[in-house]
Symmetry: D2
């Protein structure tokens, strides 16, 4: 029920996983890989579709990786998780809830639909909610906010090298009209205040921070480890907020396939359009997968398959049956029935 602890075993397990899911016929890479236009829509299969990495970060050992684990890619929506955590740190649960809900909406990530009853975005994993969340980060100005976001991401990853990729950011800005519209719409309904271009710039910069699959696994492990980076021992998130972040990932993390993921795979996770998925097995494991071929929901095709495979083989689903003998005396009763 728990992941293998022997280092060699883990590596062998990873190598097999990689091998099993290597062949890939489906999926399109986000078009920003190719051209920078309309990158939120899956585009043609490009060379990037071949890239494939898996990383596991456990508590007592080093990080285990297989495949293209040193290829940098943009965090994109993966950043939403960590910035939401930072907003919780800065303001506490109640205040953040007033501004961003936690309800899965069934809408696409770039939806212009809001929680009209409470005049707030549905949740922090859709773009509308992530824009408001970014704006909640404390800081005298956008630069300071960005610095705090970067500092936080670096603690999660234990990697001081994380930074914004200027070219990615520039591409993002060029195709940001829908996000810009979402932001102005929210400002027109008093869900957002301040300088929309600055908030948008902050949001798109957090999306443009480059990580590797190895980084992603460590970031996930930090959440699995109650908010403390298992490699550095540095705290990235207060223990009491970890459950908030994981809860939102669980119900809203995988775009409009979140319910299917919670049903099938059953672990808190988040995906990004660049092809990354991070999954958190609380108190056990952080998983990173990177493979840019996306399915219709915008989730990495291989990423979903790898996580399903791991969840099934290791029994990681949060509602997975524990060893049947351990159940509440049922075995005996059932036998006697």
């Amino acid at each position: 029920m728990s992941p293998p602890h022997n280092s060699t075993l883990v590596d062998r397990h990873l190598a097999q996983l990689h091998e099993r899911h290597r062949s890939l016929e489906e999926g399109c890479v986000a078009s920003y890989y190719a051209s920078g236009r309309g990158y939120y829509e899956p585009g043609d299969a490009g060379a990037e579709r071949e890239q494939f990495a898996i990383a596991f970060a456990t508590r007592s050992e080093d990080v285990h990786v297989v495949g293209d684990c040193d290829v940098p890619f943009a965090l994109q929506s993966l950043a939403k998780v960590f910035v939401y955590g930072l907003a919780l740190e800065d303001h506490g649960r109640e205040h953040v809830l007033e501004h961003v809900g936690v309800e899965p909406s069934g809408d696409a990530f770039n939806s212009i639909d809001f929680d009209e009853r409470q005049q707030r975005p549905h949740n922090p994993m859709v773009n509308a909610g992530a824009l408001v969340t970014a704006d909640l980060v404390r800081g005298a100005n956008i630069e300071e906010k960005l610095e705090r976001v970067l500092a936080t991401l670096r603690v999660y990853a234990g990697n001081d090298g994380l930074s914004v990729d200027a070219r990615t950011f520039e591409l993002e800005m060029r195709s940001a009209d829908r996000n810009r519209a979402i932001a102005y719409l929210m400002r027109s309904q008093q869900m957002l205040a301040g300088d929309v271009e600055a908030i948008l710039g902050l949001y798109l910069r957090q999306c443009s921070v480059m990580v590797t699959c190895r980084d992603l696994a460590v970031m996930a492990a930090t959440l699995a480890n109650g908010g403390v980076n298992p490699l550095t021992g540095m705290r990235a998130l207060r223990h009491s907020h970890v459950r908030d972040v994981l809860s939102v990932m669980h119900t809203c993390g995988m775009y409009d396939a979140a319910g299917q993921w919670a049903y099938d795979i059953g672990v808190p996770a988040k995906s990004g359009v660049s092809g990354g998925i991070l999954a958190v097995i609380p108190e056990k494991l952080g998983i990173g997968v990177f493979s840019p071929g996306l399915d219709d929901y915008g989730n990495s095709v291989r990423g979903v398959r790898v996580c399903r495979d791991v969840s099934e083989r290791l029994g990681l689903h949060i509602f997975a049956a524990e060893d049947e003998d351990a159940l509440l005396g049922a075995g005996g009763a059932a036998a006697s029935a």
Copy 2:
């Protein structure tokens, strides 16, 4: 972290809970209590709003109850959980998924919106999905299907007396036009086949099965106990389907406040418009609460409060922090940081 095992302690805990949440200024009872018309909408505060019961069913002991635990009420939407389980038993996960999704939709329970991409209702906890689910139950005819539903509910509750209340059913039928419309709409889109009136009759009969709060706690405990009734030892649901049922409860069980519930309270649960809530703490506890005063989402006001209180005091949130010392070696590292 686990519920108190000493019987007297549990009873004292329950009495205190009841006392703490007794006063109630808000909430309206579903109008069917008063008049039988349009019962899906909260109506005026009636005498029923005073009723209040809490029950805990653990594995090794008897059921603990406080308050109006012997007042019968209609299962209403609570039945959806168990009938979904029966459909899984009858057809397996894949087949059921083809006909009913598992995605929270953000819509109200009586929504006429469907998963257009896959031509199926969004999930089995909205009425559309529950109608399809009821129709999936095996049986040569509606009577046989109903008998199998009743038999299943009786195993969950360990109560052979559970049966359809004729008057409730009659009231339901009188105000069934929206459900009827949903069913015909689905049939017009090939999501449903067969005799709509018969399917509607089956669905409304399952809604009209009367239970007590005590029954509800035992039914929840059966799910907590891997599908085996802890009192009778009888199996109600295959172990492998328990996670499917709990997953759907977790993401879709509390109407359009499901995300907030998963965030705040963090245990799989389901509510019904008659004022009942059942909550499942896997391998630990089944909770039933009954109090007909409803909030804007159609959830029992006291029920939500009691469950939040219990979840917080006992640390039951599925992503709640375990004892900090137990964490992945982080404590020391953090201290040295």
Copy 3:
């Protein structure tokens, strides 16, 4: 500016029109021609696509026809116009407006969207509105209501032979689930009362009344002639209600292409899925066209083309420029400018 009055000239004009629009590469016939399933959706091109008739009914002369003018077809949505008129006769403008709006909704004819502000269907040309309108027809029972609808249609057409085609009605009933859902949805919101199956039966029978293109032109001419059948002199509709019927046809008659029609062709008209279009040139002309090949909006492809052609050549657009010389002294002023 006015239609040709010389009989031979009119016949020649019609023959040329028919010839010009004879070739047809596009359009699908409603599937009910072929199979009786889901007839509201255009299906494959069938033999019916070849059928093509045009008829003009003027005041002083006989009816002029060309093509398949004796082929009977079902009125379908064309009936909505006349039944709306009958409801106005029975209850007056104010009462009818309370139950059915007159607002174009931009929705498809089979929409389940209503005017929520006023709890009524948007207009009598969408199915929801036509169901309510049918129910407004006075009569002790459905049989009596149907007799009155038939009697009215016969006066419009000057044809006592108009009657319900049993086979068409039967096909309609087999694929009526969406209309049934619309009706139950309206009943659940108190927009409709009474026996839904009976109202649906009435509505589908009015849809199943068979007419020829010749009949259609006379029915249109009756509206053009202030409500009095120009051939028989019988009054079908009070003069004061003609403008109400024409107004609704003008803004809502051509499904969700009504605005485009009002812009391009600019005369009150209504189409039916069986391929008929009737157009009314007040005080001048009634036009019927029959050709079952439909465009994406459900309007007859040839019907739209013929009407556009006639409107342009004869200057029939309600906002068409009159002879420039007749204008308010502008000519001279402009010249001197």
Copy 4:
């Protein structure tokens, strides 16, 4: 059937109209009168609610006015009519139709819903369509475009003094976020190109042009007169485009009450949130009404009443019955029936 031609008679008619509709209990003035915030929503009743003017402009005589006919107010949505005409002049019907539809949508004026089938705004009378229309105006830059818009408005009004009110424009800009969002949303879907802020500036400037009720009546009369200003003899719009402009006014001019207006009053008209309504009786009359108290749809309460009154008394409804004797020989036939 035609308006009174004797000057004294017209003045007496106007005075009576003004008197009949003077008392006003309902309606809220657009909040921009008071505060400049969110002016699209009716706000409190302010002093402006008392203002009331009516003007008639016929062909052969001077303009007849009563009430506050010299109070300037912003054109707001009234400008949409004339700028649409200018876009037609600049590009012709086909080209403009590719970019802006002519379909009433049933949506509010500030809707973010588009014609998805054809990737364009529904019509030029909703803000989305008006933004695209403004951008279609030819000009090397925004200044040139604005100059051409102003020049056109001046020809319509025969008033060279028409100009942008800086304070109104400034207020508009302060509460332009929803329009800004609409524009960016359209640009993200390739319905709009170029500099959104510049287009928005152009659009809001055209909204901020000040007119009097007298100007409005002359502008309407120019449309009634085939595009030629009856006072100056200057052509404002090609004759062939007048019908296009009137058609769109007729089906889409009165916000989401356009259908009701076409049914009740039956003349092409347009209203603005500042309280103006212009109505066009082709070849007869231009009507201007100004009264800032608005109904729920955003139309001037008194303006609607005055126009209904005029339409009824003068028989101006486009489908109003002509003199019954003039009908197609029906009188006699009916008499003999």
